[in-house]
Symmetry: C2
Subunit: 235 residues, 2 copies
C-alpha cells in the first residue's frame, strides 16, 4: 500500500509537504528518497509520485501523474435526528472520519432540535477538517434538514434502506448491507421513532438492524452504524 | 422483550421510579398498569415484576422476584493510549455505552499523556452515568494505566488478543473475535505503535484487525472497535 499524504495543491512536479505531513513521513514512517507515495488534496485529485527530498528542513514529493479519485463502490448516508450541542459536533466528526458520504438532519415526530443554518455551516467545517485529518479525498456532505416524508420520497435513490432501532427485528448481522451500492440508514431520535413512523419506514421497503439490548444515545447509534459499515463492509 | 428501568435500590415489593424513568415508561413507551418490567440497579441486581401504579404523579413497580444479572458470555477490554481532553471523556462514554467491560489506559512509546488519578476518577463517573443511561447492569471498569509489558504479562488471562492498526494484516472481518470468551483489543496511540511494539504484540499471539485505509483518531478507533463488537458479536 502506498502511503497517502495531504497537500493543499496537488500539481505535477515537486510538491512540498506541510509540517505535520512531513513529520509523519520522515519521523513516524521513516520513508526515504524515492519511496512511492500518493498525494491528495481533499477535493478529489490524486497525485502519484515518489519522495524527492527527505531531510530535517523539508519533505518534498515529485508528482509524476495526476488522476481523479476513483468513486467508491458504495456510499452510505445516515439520516439522524441531531442531538444537542457537543454531541452533534462529535457525531459529525466521527461519521466523517468513518467515511459516511452524507449526513441528513432528520426531522421526525420526537425530534427535539433542528440544526440552524449556521450550525449546519459549522458542522460542514468539522466534516472538512475530519476528511483532511483522516486523509480522505472528499468530505462528508451535510444536507439541509428533511422530514421522514421528504427523505422517503426519494427512496428509489437508495439500493438499501436500513431502519436502525432497539426494537427492530434483526434480519442480518450487519454484513448484508453496506458492502456495495448506496445505503440509507435511518436512526431514530431520543425516545425512538413513533409506531406510525416505523410503519412508514417498513412500507418503504426498509431492512432492519437491531441495535442490541442497550439503549444507545442517538449519536452513539449513528457512530456505531458508521463504524460497523466501515470496519466490516469496507474490507 | 420486557422493558428495563433503572432504580437506585431494587428490593421486593413496591419501588417508585425516578422522574426520568417514570417519564420514559409513561409518556414515551405508554406502559400501563400490570405491564411486566425489569428493574436494575447498576450493581448487578435485577428485579422482575409488573407496573403497579401509572399516573401523572408517579410510576411504581411491584417487584415480585430478585435475581443477579447473568454473566455475559463474553467480555471485551480495550487498552488504548488516552487522547487529550474531551476526546478521552467521549471515548469513555461511548465505550461504556457499547458494553466494553474494561478500559485500560495504555502507556506506550508514543503515548503523549497518561491520565492522572483525578482524571481516572472523573472517567469512572462518566462510565457509571453511561451504564445508568444505557440501562446496563454494571458499569465499565477503568483500570490504572499500564505499559504494554505490564498488560501482556497477563496475556494468559485473555482468550483472544487483537492488534488494531491501520497497517495490520486483516485476518478476519471482525466476526472472528469478540463473540465468546474474553478479548483484549490493543489500540495504538496517535502516530501508531512502534515496530518494536508491534513485534512484541505479535509475539504475544495477537490476531490482527485492519483499521481500513483512513487514518482514524485513537478515540475513533477504540469506539469503532467497540461498536463493531457490539453490533456484530452481540446478536
Amino acid at each position: 500500500m502506498k502511503r497517502r499524504f495531504y497537500a493543499a495543491n496537488v500539481t505535477l512536479g515537486p510538491v512540498i509537504l506541510g509540517e505535520r505531513e512531513a513529520h509523519h513521513a520522515r519521523d513516524v514512517l521513516r520513508l526515504q528518497n524515492n519511496d512511492p507515495v500518493l498525494l491528495f488534496d481533499g477535493k478529489g485529485t490524486i497525485g502519484e509520485g515518489v519522495l524527492s527530498e527527505v531531510n530535517k528542513d523539508r519533505v518534498a514529493c515529485r508528482v509524476e501523474s495526476l488522476s481523479s479519485e476513483k468513486k467508491r463502490d458504495r456510499s452510505i448516508a445516515i439520516a439522524v435526528a441531531f442531538p444537542k450541542g457537543a454531541r452533534s459536533a462529535f457525531m459529525v466528526e466521527k461519521c466523517a472520519e468513518l467515511g459516511i458520504e452524507r449526513l441528513i438532519p432528520l426531522i421526525c415526530e420526537r425530534t427535539v432540535t433542528v440544526p440552524s443554518k449556521s450550525k449546519i455551516e459549522r458542522h460542514r467545517r468539522i466534516a472538512q477538517e475530519a476528511a483532511r485529518q483522516s486523509r480522505q479525498g472528499s468530505a462528508m456532505a451535510i444536507t439541509e434538514p428533511g422530514t421522514l416524508a421528504d427523505i422517503l420520497k426519494k427512496s428509489a435513490e437508495w439500493g438499501t434502506i436500513v431502519l436502525a432501532a432497539p426494537g427492530a427485528v434483526s434480519e442480518n448481522r450487519g454484513t448484508g448491507w453496506g458492502e456495495r451500492g448506496s445505503t440509507l440508514i435511518l436512526v431514530g431520535p431520543e425516545g425512538g421513532f413513533t409506531e406510525k413512523e416505523v410503519t412508514t419506514i417498513r412500507n418503504a421497503g426498509a431492512t432492519e438492524h437491531h441495535l442490541g439490548e442497550q439503549i444507545l444515545r442517538t449519536e452513539t447509534a449513528a457512530i456505531a452504524l458508521a463504524a460497523t459499515a466501515y470496519l466490516i463492509g469496507h474490507q
